[in-house]
Amino acid sequence: MPAYAVNEQELIERFLSDPAEDTFACLYRALSPCVFRFFIGRSCERSVAEELMQDVMLAVYRQSRQLRDPELFRPWMFKIALNAWRKHLRQIDRRVVTTDFDTASEHVAAPAPDPLVRSYFRQWMEWLDPDERELITLRHVDGMEYHEIAAVLGLPTGTVQWRLFHTRRKLAARFGGRPPA
């Protein structure tokens, strides 16, 4: 078990046995950064990530009685986050996009505000299929264990490992065996 998880697990157990405002506030302080990172790791704008994080943490508070096993808390919470993210993407897809051609060129020329936007990591993630991207993000950005990823995605742990390994091979085949530093 990673070192960070010891204190975190204690807070989770305290909250689940007594889901009151004070135990929730402690849990919120410990876990909201992970949830925030979850959304930022999926190229979400900061303000949207903050909003979605708040929604997820409130859903955790409201739905905590559904969860019996504290060991499953993290995958359960990330599943809520993943559902919130997918819902958000669906909402974006439904929006009608209109473009003002007079001002569009200004937007194209404007520099990207996020210095990581053109990083190699972003390029690799953009090139991968959504499922592969999700796996890499859950494992490396969200720092989840294989069994936790399996619980979030509803897959066997062996399948998660198999797919992660082949995603790395796919990256190596596309971008070369020596990735840039």
Partner: protein, 174 residues
Amino acid sequence: MQHGITEQQWLAFLEDSLEPRERMRIQAHLDGCPDCRNLYSEMHAWGQAIARGAAKLRAGAELSEVQIERFVAMALIGIRVARRESKRRNESWSVPEALVLLRALLAPFCGLGTARAAVQLAVRESDLDEEGSASGTHWGKFVAYLTQTISQQCGISTGRLVGRVGVCLESGEG
């Protein structure tokens, strides 16, 4: 699987989390197999590159303590507001208020006298506490009796209407 090494074993070997014996077996194989050695160095390099990229991304996604405290406060306010709303929604009508409403509702259908008598009969039959709130088992019995009586006196559709209103009064939607 490549050369008797599964993907799970490859990952565990790359992350240095294999059992010592298994690790030695794979290491011995790599020493004699250029293909697997090449695969290992590629996978190792990519594992490190991904970890570096992810670390950069994580570093750019920090929340300050002040920000977290602000969000905690907002969440607690949200919880309290939702609780108050839920309590307000769940507040039932008091029995005297509910009876006045039911009498007023029934009067156009069967006359004020019959309405009063039907309500009074249902109160008696259900042992309804006339000082309490329009909720619980006795309220349920009261609504059932009244629905039955009104169905007989004024027709099934009026009886159904009474039943629905009784449920709404209990859930505070009246």
